[in-house]
Symmetry: C2
Subunit: 225 residues, 2 copies
């Protein structure tokens, strides 16, 4: 652990359309900061700037979030959440075997669940107008449900994916939120309960409120003379 | 770091079809073991066993690889490669900022590149017979190419994604191998060179040979009387 040179700064979009609110990936970093109790600053950027050379020096894919504390500069919400987890306590167990499992669940969220969640979002949102989306949807939903069924079986009756809440749960719940425009999660009651349990944490509620605040302000009608 | 209770064991499939050879994800773990010089053992399992309750206790999605050393038991090739990297030297820089960047590239490979590589594999291989696959292919290839273009720009003229070869390069090259049935990578010469450079490492060559060996044996004609 190195001491950051200054307050960590993360970037996110100044404005996103309503369907994306609560899903933008800087929320994952905010949640991690709140869980470990590290103060941070947010830099709101516009979409054109995200695609600029200046921003791509920190995020080659022209996306958000990025993390910078003057010593460490990284992108990828998974890497950022893991880095924040390592700076404080509460998100990574000290026992090395349990710590390896927390990292495993974080990566499972990003590589074994999120691609299937995103695939359904492509069908329902990003390519909703394409003929092929209607034809593919049953297959895409079936594959996602297979993963959710497996995850539900792995969770069983436990409170969290492992013995205690970790950065793995933080990432898994962040990913599960991506099916919100559907009723799918309700078919896996233990996953729905697990999600609600994690979202009831004060750290999540604070992070979500702070995440939503700029969009509320941005949408407020301007003062009219 | 805890001392493993015994030689680490990873699981992989006893047999896979020819198109999957060289792409099965236990190769990532083999490569990591070879880079850090840790001896390991491989347990070959059959596909039905992978889907059994017994195996799902270690891998909820009924897949491979799993890693077990008697102290740590994990799944997800990304988590396994990172865990192996932490057990030895050569895959994770000691400088904390550079270490965070290596983890960032590992996660970028798994979350920002692999979903697009897999999407093209779905179109070309797993759902090749579906009408929608032909219609979708140009869109899917375009999105993959956007990511490869960004990655190519990020790599620039450098030898590796950061100053020295790391577990981030190991994972990125493992993911890039997934477009091998196409000529796409040749359109990004610095990525093609980067991939060749990493694959020329003795650790990769040993890992690949060991990965392929069981399949050669499995396909050998039985002795005929």
């Amino acid at each position: 652990m190195t001491m950051p040179a200054r307050l960590p700064v993360i970037t996110t979009y100044r404005w996103v359309p309503p369907f994306a609110r609560g899903l933008v990936r800087e929320l994952r970093a905010r949640w991690a900061f709140e869980e470990v109790g590290i103060a941070y600053r947010v830099e709101l950027i516009d979409h054109p700037y995200a695609k600029s050379e200046a921003h791509r020096r920190f995020q080659p894919f022209g996306q958000i979030p990025t993390y910078s504390d003057g010593a460490v500069e990284i992108f990828e919400s998974g890497a950022i959440a893991l880095h924040i987890a390592r700076q404080g306590s509460g998100l990574l167990p000290e026992d090395p075997a349990a710590q390896a499992r927390a990292v495993q669940w974080l990566i499972a969220a990003l590589n074994s669940i999120e691609p299937f969640v995103m695939d359904l979002a492509v069908v329902d949102v990003f390519e909703a107008g394409e003929d092929w989306s209607r034809a593919r949807r049953p297959t895409v939903e079936r594959k996602l449900r297979e993963r959710l069924q497996d995850l539900s079986a792995a969770l069983g009756g436990r409170e969290f994916l492992d013995d205690a809440f970790s950065v793995g749960d933080l990432m898994m719940v962040s990913v599960l939120r991506g099916v919100d425009r559907t009723d799918i999660l309700a078919d896996y009651p233990n996953l729905a309960d697990y999600r609600a349990r994690c979202e009831a944490r004060p750290a999540f509620r604070k992070a979500l409120a702070d995440h939503l605040a700029p969009y509320v302000d941005a949408d407020a009608p301007s003062a009219v003379a």
